[in-house]
Amino acid sequence: MTDGISGEAEMTFLGALVESTVETLRTMAMLEASCVRQCREPECGLGWDVGARMALTSGGAGCIGVATGMECARKIVGRIVGQEAAEVDDDEASAGLAEVLNMIAGNAKTRLAGTPQHFELSLPEPWKGRTDAPCEAPAKGLTAVFDVEGAAFAVCAHMG
């Protein structure tokens, strides 16, 4: 489902993020993620507990982020480090998601090499706490929502 997203540039950018998310979660966490919705961030209508964001630079300044519920974050990080989800505490979950974001962004950056959407990364910053806007993006921010074994996981981005 694609809500209000148009234009080749946006589709290219979001497409790279979707493919990178699927590859990262499959390779590192052995979790299958399927993209169930693409939308403008303020239209997303979902609340999130934990995630990470990083600034990126392209033609202008932008940001990219991931967000999910705490239970899903613990499952993802637990799978990656070989622990039960219950053994992963909140800080480890948010720090782990920062590394997951780093991998998703790095993978997407490679996919976008040679295109106008190519960007440079910064360092990811983890966050915790209920929010509706994981990327703190303006209205033009894009979000892809994934189903990860029954839990919602979002990747959001906006380019300046």
């Binding site: 990262t24 390779t27 590192m28 990656i80 782990g96 991998m103 790095g106 993978n107 950056k109």
Partner: protein, 119 residues
């Protein structure tokens, strides 16, 4: 998180690991432990010095220059890989990776280093 995975990979192949959160800390660890270090795994995107800067410092220092370095990083574009190789990186593993691939690369690096010593 990646340091935890590397430590687990080290356990699998029977190697201990020393960890550092950034380049400056890593160089400080090496100052104390270089005689016990057989392989350096180095990320690219780190706070402070990036991995390429750390790599240059390692290869410019006679005490560390012969220790093989594997870059383990999200920087997977050809130009960056070439930069790292040109600066003396011995191997390059891009994230995301399967743990099996990490173990294979570590073993290859260690075997290559051992083989080199025997020449």
């Amino acid at each position: 998180m990646i340091r935890s995975i590397v430590a687990q990979a080290g356990e699998v192949i029977g190697c201990g690991t020393l960890e550092a959160a950034d380049g400056a800390s890593g160089l400080a660890v090496l100052e104390k432990e270089s005689g016990n270090v057989g392989l350096i795994l180095l990320d690219w995107n780190m706070p402070g010095m990036d991995g390429l800067e750390v790599l240059k410092k390692l290869k410019a220092d006679k005490r560390f220059a012969d220790i093989p370095v594997m870059m383990v990083t999200t920087e997977s574009e050809r130009d960056n890989i070439l930069k790292a190789i040109m600066e003396g990186a011995d191997a390059y593993l891009t994230k995301p990776f399967a743990v099996e691939d990490l173990i294979t690369k570590i073993n290859e690096c260690l075997a290559s280093a051992t083989h080199g010593e025997g020449k």
